[in-house]
């Protein structure tokens, strides 16, 4: 039999609480106590009496020690004990999805390569339609300078070192981010990476830009040529997708525990 100290440490380790009418009577008392406010003061009196009565029953159940009943074993399947962990290289039938992933490094490189391809297309647009490679660069910087929408075309077509630095920064950050998204999204279409890169992603990104351009970058909204823009997106998607799908996949670490993935070594437990 367990000692009282055990009982305190793990409640109901070998017993279950004994049924009692205390809570029911006390709850009825509380309800009547309040019901008296809207009905009759007599109800409150009854409620107060019931509350005290129920409280006393309740108190005697838990004081000085909790009233409990022993457990009757039912013979049901109720023992659950974990098996020892097998060795790490033991065979497993489980399928861990995804099995292999593109490394994030691929997204970084692919994003930068795609960004370069996109920049080439954009520069070509500037040269062909407006006679200046600086125009697309300055327009991109317009994302952080709302006043740019008020500038005229000659100003926007001129060289400006500060704007170039800002535009390159924005473009590199967005390219890397998109490249990383590609690495995550590409395994969803494992058989047709180029379909994703050349069609799906440009359509999604172009429509996203089209619907938000007026808010994000009003200056660009004024000049933008959507066919060229979609072309630049396709250039990005094609190059980025091609780079990523050529980098060798690495096995996912889904088979490892969180602590192992975090690099915290743990001892092998079990027999």
């Amino acid at each position: 039999m367990a000692t009282p100290d055990d009982a305190r440490e793990t409640p109901y380790a070998r017993a279950i609480p004994r049924p009692t009418a205390g809570p029911l009577v006390a709850a009825f008392g509380v309800a009547m106590l309040f019901a008296g406010i809207v009905t009759n003061v007599g109800a409150s009196v009854v409620g107060a009496v019931a509350l005290v009565f129920g409280g006393v029953i309740w108190f005697r159940e838990v004081m000085p020690d909790e009233a409990v009943e022993p457990i009757e074993a039912t013979g049901g399947q109720t023992v659950v004990t974990p098996p020892p962990l097998p060795a790490r290289d033991a065979p497993s039938r489980r399928l861990l999805l995804p099995v292999e992933i593109h490394p994030y490094r691929a997204g970084l490189v692919g994003g930068l390569a795609g960004g370069a391809a996109m920049a080439v297309v954009a520069a070509a647009w500037g040269l062909v339609e407006h006679g200046s490679v600086w125009l697309p660069i300055n327009l991109l910087a317009g994302a952080v300078n709302p006043g740019m929408a008020a500038m005229g075309e000659p100003e926007l077509a001129a060289f400006d070192g500060g704007w170039i630095a800002i535009a390159v920064g924005i473009h590199a950050a967005l390219s890397i981010m998109t490249g990383l998204l590609f690495t995550v999204a590409l395994p969803m279409m494992p058989r047709r990476p180029m379909l994703f890169g050349v069609v799906v992603a440009p359509v999604i990104l172009s429509s996203l830009s089209w619907s938000t351009m007026g808010i994000v970058n009003p200056a660009m909204e004024e000049f933008i040529s959507w066919p060229w823009f979609v072309g630049s997106q396709i250039a990005f998607g094609a190059v980025c997708g091609a780079v990523i799908s050529r980098v060798e996949k690495v096995p996912t670490m889904a088979a490892l525990s969180t602590s192992e993935r975090l690099g915290i070594e743990q001892s092998e437990v079990g027999s």
């Binding site: 029911l24 709850a27 020690d65 022993p70 009757e72 109720t78």
Partner: protein
């Protein structure tokens, strides 16, 4: 264990053999979490039928313009009692009751931390609900007739003032909700203590079933939200009965303060109602997809995140009162933010289903129905978080459509999924799968038919809480469609009730583990013995039953 029963006659088996009156007496004095859980769910279902009747009466009244099936006064009572019933007497008790039944089983405990407090909480809820409904007989209304409360479930000041709400029906609302609220507080504290203190050996916090995590956060939210509600209700009670002026604008009191107090309770309450539903779905989806839950740690983090953020979004219910740009922007931003952890959960359920071997048994049908409907409700919620949009549709049927997608398409679908999933455990017999599928599709079709058109009638300008509408505003079709969905939903609900009743005697024997599931409650017999487990279990992973069934490939290695 120091006090042993005095006579062996009081032991469990002897009690079971006694006649009906004695068995009912046992239900009345029980402190067993399973019996209390069943009583919670059953009384919640009864209140659900009553609340559903009230809703049906409202839809019948709104079926065509200029209808006079019910009077404006009765209509006000109907929407007040419908909302109050569904939130306080259906949602909370059924969800807390499910938690009551399942949590000790899931964490390998014999009972809740405070079994007597648990019984106290249940009886308070029941008596509080009965007190509220006694208002139909006992309360004095406007013209000295008996009347139910008619001030809306949020009871906005100053309409609740003695001046505008004559008689004492509003006092019934205050007292009924307050008494059942005491019960919720008791159960909330009990859940927190149970989950923190009663876990079996090996059940670390990060090995608990996700449902236990959700109920832990729910317990904390109950503790934080119900205190302010009770305080505000006490103030209102003082205003009405002792002549105090807390919410009396004529004496400098503020009606807006009531709104702040009420929604400081009211929005966490929404998460109290949806988090357990998330818990049910997080248990059902893995079992029927035959995969572990995707991203367990992230699900836990999202749950805790929702708990925190839900305490600072309340004023998005109040954009239309004119809080000023700073508060509007803050609460709008916080509301957008809470969509992030909620979205994480949606993606993780989809991630769990992705590539799984999905079995569309009835619990899974309800769970997938939940995910789809909740996404719609969540998206309209994000629309409503935008202040300018909210100004346009605030207090319109668009809002009614939104929160019914969340609370009916969300919570109630998840509750029915959970009922179908755990019924075999609680009763020992399976529900009839054919009836279950019929009830799901009827409910699903009826639900969408009723509530989707509400978005349109709301955008067309139909306000909430009106007892009728004009014929030439283009609202006829949408209201007729909404009403047409009611019989389908009623048929679905009645089929479920019938299924619950008939399977109690006629269902196939379930066995311990009919779904081949992985959490601890399936390790014991169906129904479980009074003490749950002969020996306190020990767990080594999040899926103890997987470990038991596959000792050569246990889960512990992958967590």
């Amino acid at each position: 264990m120091t006090t042993l029963p005095t006579t062996p006659a009081e032991t469990v088996a002897d009690r079971r053999a006694e006649p009906l009156s004695a068995r009912l007496h046992l239900w009345a004095i029980t402190v067993d979490h399973k019996r209390l859980g069943i009583m919670y769910v059953l009384s919640g279902l009864v209140f659900f039928l009553v609340g559903g009747l009230e809703a049906s009466a409202m839809r019948a009244q709104l079926a065509r313009p200029g209808n006079d099936l019910v009077s404006p006064e009765v209509f006000n009572q109907l929407f007040t009692m419908h909302g109050t019933t569904m939130v306080f007497l259906v949602g909370m008790p059924v969800l807390l009751g499910m938690g009551n039944y399942l949590i000790p089983l899931m964490i390998g405990a014999r009972d809740m931390a405070f079994p007597r407090l648990n019984a106290f909480g249940f009886w308070l809820f029941l008596f509080g609900g009965l007190l509220l409904y006694y208002s139909y007989i006992g309360a004095q209304g406007l013209y000295g007739t008996s009347a139910a409360p008619d001030v809306g479930w949020f009871a906005y000041a100053p309409l609740t003032d003695r001046t505008f709400s004559r008689g004492n029906s509003t006092d019934y609302w205050i007292l009924g909700i307050m008494v059942s609220g005491f019960g919720s507080i008791a159960t909330g504290a009990n859940l927190v203590a149970t989950i923190l203190c009663m876990r079996c050996r090996g059940m670390t916090l990060m090995r608990m079933p996700l449902m236990a995590w959700m109920m832990l956060v729910v317990g904390v939210l109950v503790l934080t939200a119900l205190g302010p509600l009770t305080a505000a209700q006490v103030m209102l009670l003082f205003d009405r009965n002792l002549g105090a002026h807390f919410f009396d604008p004529q004496e400098g009191g503020s009606a807006i303060l009531w709104q702040h107090f009420f929604w400081f309770f009211g929005h966490p309450e929404v998460y109290i109602l949806i988090l357990p539903a998330f818990g049910f779905v997080s248990e059902i989806v893995p079992t029927f997809s035959r995969k572990v839950i995707f991203g367990y740690p992230l699900m836990v983090a999202a749950t805790v995140g929702i708990g925190f953020i839900s305490l600072s979004v309340w004023a998005h219910h109040m954009f239309a009162v004119g809080l000023g740009p700073v508060l509007d922007a803050f609460f709008s931003a916080m509301t957008f933010m809470i969509a992030v952890p909620t979205g994480i959960k949606i993606f993780n359920w989809i991630g769990t289903m992705w590539g799984g071997r999905i079995r569309f048994a009835s619990p899974m049908l309800f769970a997938t129905g939940f995910v789809a409907m909740f996404v719609i409700g969540g998206l309209t919620g994000i629309m409503l978080a935008m202040v300018p949009f909210d100004w346009q549709v605030s207090d319109s049927y668009f809002v009614v459509g939104h929160f019914h997608y969340v609370l009916f398409g969300g919570t109630i679908f998840a509750i029915f999924g959970a009922l179908h999933y755990w019924y075999p455990k609680a009763v020992g017999r399976m529900l009839n799968e054919t009836i279950a599928k019929w009830s799901f599709w009827l409910l699903f079709a009826g639900f969408n038919l009723t509530f989707f058109p509400m978005h349109i009638s709301g955008l067309l300008g139909m306000p909430r809480r009106i007892y009728t509408f004009q014929p030439d505003r283009g609202l006829e079709l949408w209201n007729l469609l909404s009403t047409a969905g009611v019989p389908l939903q009623a048929a679905g609900v009645l089929l479920i009730v019938w299924n619950l009743l008939r399977s109690h005697r006629k269902g196939a024997i379930a066995g311990n583990d009919p779904w081949d599931a992985w959490t601890l409650e399936w390790a014991t017999t169906s129904p479980p013995p009074e003490h749950n487990f002969d020996e306190p279990p020990t767990v080594g992973s999040r899926r103890p039953l997987w470990d038991l069934k596959h000792p050569e490939d246990p889960d512990g290695r992958y967590e």
